[in-house]
Structure formats: structure tokens, C-alpha cells
Symmetry: C2
């Protein structure tokens, strides 16, 4: 291939690359309902049952650093982030497969530690590990997980279903996983220069836990079903609130207003951000890896969630002409910016 | 972890590792029919419909060498080897996902070439590409493909269903992919010492094609269905005839006799093996990567396949006490040995 024809992936961006790929592989199967472009693919199993399929790959040196990520937590996280994609479709995970690439520095005991985490997550989210491929890797550790789930035509939620005036909700709190990562990176630097120092992570236990062992909010999926509330659109917060909210806006053809004073931020995230000299709102808006559910509901459904301790209303959807904006604490309206995660 | 507790994966072996993993993740979902231990996992979608899920990961430097593997062929192969696992369950592939890990030496054009191969295979095997994850990789290229397929309780074929006196059948020919690899490796060595030499691969076109762009035998799955023939057990030949036959023997609790003079070997494989000073029968028995279907049928079904040009009867199943043996051309009975592929 000549140099003149070379386009860097970084120049096109991850989402630009996905668009190019999607144009090359247009679905033709009658059973394919939704292909590329949502948290999971959707197929028709029967008229009453939809199948969900989602997959994610984690690579050492890109997505995790084994110098502070215990293998058991890594196994748990690899499952949780995939289950989270099924949750984001309002589905129930059933089975999953795990592909592992292992360099020769990994022992049988290391694989068992990883699988203990995988098994713990499978148990927590009530899903079976049914197969996969275990192979050698030339260098680092590679984990590719695929989760198979189910939902119904009545229950499935896409990114594209939001309507004007829908309320934007987010579960849990935001920015903690990002601040946890900052703490772990700082301790790693300290350790590398002073190997005798034992890091004291006790005061950061919540945010470090959010980074190392995130949860998938299946509890929320079940609670919403019990309340008879189907969100109009949904996504999980993996790239960061702003970036993921933009996916809902784009797919639904709408704009959004988010209120800064409504952003749910844990006290530990707040204090640690202050310690690091970072704006906690920026952590909440662009942090990523929270794996909370971000969804929109009809105003008619507000009563069903208004007293829920773990569901926060942070804004509302509106016409695209009104933009994607953040209403700050002092009532200034500023453009919402997505930094997201750039791996390329 | 202390050094004393370290067991090397190579000492345990790939299959030993899989057994350890399987013990850690015991299925509990009512819909899981078959977990780890066959070509694909099997779930109950409805009483009339079974879901199949299979996954494989290919890593640069382990499974392929980009110095002679064109990206377009690699994309095709990554899909074909997964579709082959669905074929081995007597199922029909419907959808697939692709996870890609790309180091910065890969351009957008390289990803497009890879996806053109993926799209060509998706078209050939009538399956939709419905999603996946594209991420950075610290070094080489990683491709993880998951295929979702369908079958019925009446049609599904496991490794475990063979009976005594069943006939062992294999499709196509064996050992060609292995000899193709030998040719490519030799040409690579020549090229590295004499970069001006243009390799002449014309006389090796068939075997090189078998290595670079293998087929999945969906044609056979459809033909058997048309003939009303359900194999009693089935697997695809990925590790090599002997190794894969041993999986059928172990799962079915049986022994096997294979006749050396019945092994289907293409003339080009035969001639190239002679050129390299390798026994062509060894190529056929231990070569691997042929992605042909290896299956057993009841003797009552022999009439249905006896005139099929591309299905070869190579032996029969019997009591385990009679061993797993090869009957040589001069009627000697020797133990069948599986070398398989050792990645660890």
C-alpha cells in the first residue's frame, strides 16, 4: 500500500472508523433487528423474544495495568462491562464466552485467579460462562468477552427512542472511576521511585473500587421492570457522561440540557478531585468507566422514580436547535463538551 | 504469588487448562443446554429452536504472520473458522461480532482491507456482521470473532453422540493447509535472505489457498439436511484429524479405527510433502487448519453418502478397549497419535 493512501486511525477517530466499517457490512438476515450502532445487537428469536449480543475486548497496556489491577478484579470487570451493555438495552444477560490470550508470564494459578473473578461476576449477574478460546499471546494479556442476553419487543430500549421533553436520568454517581484511576496512577509512580513505600489507599477505597471492580446496574433494570417503567432511550456510561449522552442525542435526533448542580458526585470523588486540583464536575462529565445507566423517561413516568435514592434526574431532552448544553451553578448556559476516551 | 505455587500452562496443556476453567464456571441457567466442551455452546431459545454461540481469537505472531497473510484473507479466515464451529454443530450461522485490536502501524485502509475479507466471508456464509469493538493494541493485531447461529433439538449434533460401528466420515481433503504453511514459511525465509527473489507460488496455489483462505463447509451441512441425514457426532478439523477424532472418541466414550489408504489427500499436498521430505499421511493426520467436517454416521445412513464425491469414509467407531488405531497400507495396526497444535 503506498504511503499516499495511508489515513491514520487517530485522524478519523473511533466513531468515524465504526461508520466506515458499518458501511462495509450491511445486514441482510431477516432476523437482524439492530446491527452496529447500539450497546448490543438485537435479533428476533421469536415474535415474543429478542436476543441481545454484545462484546468488548480488554488489552493489557491499553485498558488495564496489572501493576495495580489484581487479576481477580480484572476478570470481574471484563464480565461487568459486557453485562452493562445488555443492561443498557433493558435486557437480561444469560450466557457469556471468554477468549483469553496469555503470554508465558501467566501461570495456571494466574488464569485461575482471573477465572475466579469471572465466576464471581457470573454469579453476581446470574449469567453462565459457556465457552471461549484460550490461546497463547506474544506479549500481554488479552480478554475478549461476549455476552448473550434476552429481552422482548415490548421491553427493548434503543439509543434512538428519546423524545422532546423527556427527562434525563443517571444512576449512582459519576467520576469516581476516573478519580480512582488517578490515585492508582499516582501510587504507581510513587512505588516506582520508592519501592519501600506501602501505598495507603484506605481513604480512597470507594473510588479505587469503582475503577478496579465496577458494577453493572442489573438491579436498576429489574427495578424499572417492577415499576412498569420502560426508558425511552438508554446507554451505559463507559466513555463519559457527555460522550454517551451525545450518542443518545445523535440517535434520537435531539439536543439536551444538563444541570451542573444535579450531577451526582460522591464525597470521596469530590475531595480527591480537590486534592488533585481537578474540577469534580469535569470528572463527572468526562470521567468514563462509571458503568452507570444513563436513560431518558417520559415526564409521565417521573412519579415512578422521583423518590428513588439511586436514580438522579440531571436534565431534559429538547429540539436539536437548542444544542447540547450545560447549565452551570451560576445559571450560565455553556456548550457541553465530550472529551471521551481516545485510545487511538 | 510465590514461585512454589507456579504451574506453567505448557505443563498442564491447553485441554488441561480448559478442564480447570470448566470446573470454576458451572452453568446454572435453565436455558443453557451445553456449555464448555463442544464446538459451540447451545442454549434453548424455544422448545423448537436452539441457539449456538462460538468464539475464536486470532493473534498476530501466534495464529498468523502478516508478512505472507494478506489482510483481506485474514478477515475471511477469521470468519470462516468461526462459522466452521457452527457447521460442526449442524447449525446455521446468522450473526457475528468482530473485536479488533489495532496497533498504530495499521491505517484506516488496512482496517478496510480486513473488513472487505470479513464482508466477503459474511456474504459467502450468509451471516450478518452486527457489531464489535475496535480498540488500540499495544503491539500486534488481535481479532476476536463470535458467531451466533441456530439449529433445532432434532438437528443439533454434539461430539458425544457417536455409537459403536458408526462410520467415520471426513469432507474434502486433509493436510493441504499444513503443507501450504510450510511453503509460505520457506518462501519467507528465502525472501528474508534474498529480498530481490520473487516467490513463485503458482504450483502451490491450492495448498497456499487452503492455508490463507479456508472455507467453512456450510455446503455439507445443507446437503446432509437435504438428504435427511443427521450425523451422530461431529467436529471440525482445526487441530488435526487425530486430535479432533480423539475429541469425538472421548466425548462418545469410544475407540476408533482409521484406514491410512482411505485418507483423502490432494495431489498437490502429496507432491509438496514429497518435496519437503514429509510423510503425506502425517500431514493428513496431524496437519490441522483444514476446517473440514469430521463426523460419524449410522451404518444405516451409508447409502445416503456413498456416492458423494466430497465425503470420504475413513474408518469406524468401536469399543474403547480396541483403542484408537491407524490401519496402515500394509495392514499393520498402529496407535493413532495426535500431535495437534501446541500454542503454549
Amino acid at each position: 500500500m503506498s504511503k499516499e493512501n495511508r489515513t491514520e486511525i487517530g485522524d478519523l477517530g473511533e466513531f468515524g472508523l465504526i461508520e466506515k466499517i458499518a458501511a462495509l457490512v450491511v445486514p441482510t438476515q431477516a432476523s437482524t433487528i439492530k446491527g452496529i450502532g447500539d450497546d448490543a445487537a438485537v435479533f428476533r428469536a421469536t415474535d415474543e423474544k429478542y436476543t441481545l449480543l454484545s462484546t468488548d475486548m480488554l488489552l493489557e497496556g491499553i485498558h488495564f495495568d496489572l501493576s495495580y489491577m489484581p487479576l481477580q478484579h480484572l476478570g470481574y470487570k471484563a464480565v461487568a462491562v459486557n453485562v452493562s451493555d445488555i443492561a443498557a438495552m433493558n435486557g437480561i444477560p444469560r450466557q457469556l464466552t471468554v477468549n483469553l490470550g496469555l503470554s508465558n508470564r501467566f501461570s495456571v494459578e494466574a488464569v485461575e485467579a482471573l477465572y475466579k473473578g469471572i465466576a464471581a461476576a457470573a454469579d453476581a449477574f446470574d449469567v453462565d460462562v459457556v465457552g471461549g478460546d484460550t490461546t497463547a499471546s506474544p506479549s500481554g494479556l488479552v480478554i475478549s468477552v461476549t455476552v448473550f442476553g434476552e429481552t422482548t419487543p415490548d421491553q427493548v430500549v434503543y439509543r434512538s427512542g428519546a423524545n422532546e421533553n423527556d427527562i434525563v436520568c443517571v444512576t449512582g454517581d459519576l467520576g469516581a472511576a476516573y478519580m480512582g484511576l488517578q490515585v492508582l496512577e499516582r501510587e504507581k509512580q510513587v512505588y516506582m521511585t520508592q519501592p519501600d513505600m506501602q501505598p495507603d489507599l484506605e481513604k480512597y477505597n470507594y473510588i479505587v473500587g469503582r475503577q478496579l471492580r465496577p458494577n453493572a446496574r442489573m438491579d436498576i433494570v429489574h427495578e424499572l421492570a417492577e415499576k412498569g417503567l420502560r426508558p425511552t432511550s438508554m446507554i451505559d456510561v463507559s466513555d463519559g457522561l457527555a460522550s454517551d449522552l451525545f450518542h443518545l442525542c445523535k440517535a434520537s435526533g435531539l439536543g439536551v440540557s444538563v444541570y451542573e448542580d444535579k450531577l451526582p458526585i460522591d464525597a470521596q470523588t469530590y475531595e480527591t478531585a480537590a486534592e488533585f486540583g481537578i474540577d469534580p464536575n469535569t470528572c463527572a462529565i468526562n470521567g468514563g468507566e462509571d458503568y452507570e445507566l444513563l436513560f431518558t423517561i417520559s415526564q409521565d413516568d417521573f412519579e415512578k422514580i422521583k423518590n428513588h435514592a439511586d436514580i438522579h434526574t440531571i436534565g431534559y431532552m429538547h429540539a436539536p436547535e437548542k444544542g447540547r448544553v450545560l447549565v452551570t451553578r451560576n445559571q450560565a448556559v455553556v456548550e457541553l463538551k465530550a472529551q471521551g476516551w481516545k485510545h487511538f
